[in-house]
């Protein structure tokens, strides 16, 4: 089976028309005074999904999360959780829990008191609370820290307490606001996988807000990319990366070369795009681009091959010179200036220690790529 990004998924309820969505945002708008934080947004999230809301700060992703938690009410539109309209239900009566960006650990309570807080509100019997707290401490491997106060913990430990506290009530949905934002890089990478395992084991629905695309790509089943309060694209990480629907999405996630031009020729699947300087690109899967329209051909640097000799048999070949290069160890990034002056980024994996054909500054070089190596974007 062919799949984008070489990942085959067994969990994909969004492709099943019979699957019932679990969380529904229906034409939700949220205004703060004159500022529109969320603009007529619709979104569906499925049960047991790990869903990421990705966007720059101020794009409305946190507002979306806060509306789901009940801290803000939509100005218009509605939010359904498991078929029930959430309007007017205060946060303390919603079956969702949130892990806060600042962790919001109660400073005057010990770790176990923090974890037990939500259970006590529920009126759970003391013995059950003790057992659940013990389970949670074990889950996040903090058994010996039960009696400590939050300020006696390291950043990573605090993050785990916050997590344990928010899942202790076994909420239907766990909301995570930049859950790894306060951790250093190494800890963040470890914790990403821990979060994924936890979600799998507990079978919860996770909605995570993040501005870190790598984090979203690693953890999420699907990603919603937001800009100015609107959804730009909702798709799996591979789709978002390999088949972005717009110039914004292509540019937001990862590195990309955007080759602008007009569609000179168009057949059922293929097309020829003519650049401003007359260079032509042959592409497959041209999507909805009509002949004569202005489009961008978006291609990722790693899909472009750089060589010192003109390659044979490649569908698209262009001549240029090495304008800049960066050796990063695992790979080398080339900036190649084409005849028309445009600079194209290409990266090559350094799969062997010694290169037969090293390229250097100002060397003449050829770039080449396959017709299906990029996507044609009309928006």
């Amino acid at each position: 089976m062919k799949s984008l990004g070489s990942i085959r998924r067994s969990f994909s309820p969004w492709t099943d028309p019979a699957a019932k969505p679990y969380i529904v945002f229906e034409n939700v708008t949220k205004k703060f005074g004159d500022f529109t934080a969320v603009n007529n947004l619709s979104l569906t999230i499925y049960e047991r999904e790990f869903f990421a809301l990705l966007g720059a700060s101020g794009c409305g992703k946190s507002t979306l999360l806060r509306m789901l938690a009940g801290f803000d009410e939509p100005t218009s539109g509605r939010i359904l959780l498991d078929g029930q309209d959430m309007r007017g239900i205060p946060p303390y009566r919603r079956p969702v829990n949130m892990m806060f960006q600042s962790y919001a650990l109660f400073p005057h309570m010990s770790v176990e008191q923090n974890i037990a807080f939500g259970l006590k509100q529920e009126g759970m019997p003391k013995a059950d609370i003790d057992k659940r707290v013990a389970d949670m401490l074990k889950l996040v491997k903090l058994e010996q820290f039960a009696k400590r106060k939050p300020h006696q913990l390291s950043g990573g430990q605090r993050q785990r307490v916050a997590l344990a506290r928010s899942v202790a009530k076994r909420p239907k949905v766990l909301l995570l606001d930049e859950p790894l934002g306060a951790l250093d890089k190494k800890l963040r990478e470890e914790t990403q996988f821990e979060l994924m395992d936890l979600q799998q084991n507990l079978g919860l629905t996770f909605v995570v807000v993040t501005h870190d695309q790598e984090e979203a790509m690693t953890m999420a089943d699907r990603i919603a990319i937001l800009d100015k309060g609107q959804v730009m694209q909702v798709a799996t990480p591979a789709e978002v990366y390999e088949a972005p629907v717009s110039r914004f999405v292509a540019g937001f996630v990862g590195n990309v070369n955007m080759l602008e031009g007009t569609v000179a020729e168009r057949s059922e699947k293929t097309a020829t795009i003519k650049g401003a300087s007359g260079a032509e690109i042959r592409v497959e899967n041209a999507g909805d681009a009509t002949a004569g329209s202005t489009v961008a051909f978006a291609i990722r640097p790693e899909k472009i091959k750089v060589s010192s000799k003109k390659p044979d048999g490649a569908a698209n070949v262009m001549e240029g010179e090495i304008y800049d290069l960066a050796y990063l160890g695992d790979m080398t990034v080339y900036h190649v200036r084409l005849a028309d002056g445009q600079v194209v980024k290409a990266s090559a994996l350094n799969s062997s220690r010694i290169t037969e054909d090293p390229l250097s500054w100002n060397d003449k070089a050829w770039i080449s790529f396959a017709p299906d190596a990029g996507v044609v974007l009309t928006r």
């Binding site: 807080f117 430990q157 928010s166």
Partner: protein, 272 residues
């Protein structure tokens, strides 16, 4: 930073603090003077303190002052904390400008005006002047000081703590008593202490609003001071200073210790 702390800086601090503390220190020293003449040293003695405790009217006044202080400080703390919450949590409500004006104005309002206006109110509504009216008056002006103290703490309060509590199922009222109040408690306590000392110190407002049988200690001291300086009053003042200073110093030591402990804990946590 040490390099910028010049001799001039140190000198101005030393002289400034000498100016602030010398009069009080002299007063304390002369409360232990043997002689009736307060400004001529005639040997160490604690006889004026004994004298003081035998002065029944002074003791009565002290008892009134203590009761007024505790009562008014307690109510002022409750009301002041509410006012602080209203000012920080509700950025817009009808009459907010008037409200914040009424909270800040008593901080600088000349006491003669506050005292006179409250007295005239009590007369107008036919409330007999006495213990109750002094207490009401003290609540009114000291709640504003409490409001300012608590408000500055609330300003740095992390609202997500409250959101987290509500998210975990606590109602707003429970959230306030289980989360907000415990976290801002140090500020509330220092608000109480401030209200108590303000009540303990007040002469002008008490003179206006108090009546027969509710003479406070400052009123008593004032009436004696007008007749001249006596070692007995020096002794009374020394005791008052000692009480307040002990309270303030203990409070700040406890605070300091807690902070140091906290810093140590945090460093330990981050090391491993």
């Amino acid at each position: 930073m040490n390099a910028t702390w010049s001799r001039f800086n140190i000198a101005s601090i030393v002289l400034g603090f000498a100016f602030l503390y010398l009069p009080i220190v002299l007063l304390i020293i002369f409360s232990f003077n043997e002689s009736k003449l307060v400004t001529v040293w005639a040997g160490f003695s604690t006889k004026w303190y004994g004298e003081l405790f035998r002065n029944q009217s002074l003791m009565d006044a002290a008892w009134v002052t203590a009761r007024v202080g505790v009562l008014s400080a307690t109510f002022a703390t409750i009301l002041g904390t509410m006012a602080a919450l209203a000012l920080t949590r509700y950025t817009r409500f009808r009459g907010r400008v008037l409200f914040s004006g009424m909270v800040f104005a008593p901080l600088v309002m000349p006491e003669v005006i506050t005292g006179l206006s409250l007295l005239l109110l009590f007369v107008a509504i036919g409330l007999d002047r006495g213990f109750l009216t002094v207490t009401l008056a003290h609540i009114t002006f000291s709640m504003c000081f409490v409001a300012v103290v608590v408000q500055s703490r609330l300003m740095t309060f992390d609202r997500s703590l409250e959101e987290a509590a509500m998210d975990l199922g606590a109602t707003p009222v429970k959230t306030f008593f289980q989360i907000t109040l415990p976290v801002i408690l140090p500020a509330v306590i220092s608000g109480w202490m401030l209200a108590f000392t303000l009540s303990l110190d007040d002469l002008v407002i008490a003179s206006f609003t108090s009546g027969p049988g509710a003479t406070t200690l400052p009123m008593k001291i004032y009436s004696q001071v007008r007749l001249g300086v006596t070692p007995e009053i020096n002794a009374a003042c020394t005791i008052l200073i000692a009480i307040v200073a002990t309270g303030v110093i203990i409070a700040s030591l406890v605070n300091k210790r807690r902070e140091v402990q906290r810093l140590r804990d945090e460093q330990a946590a981050n090391r491993g």
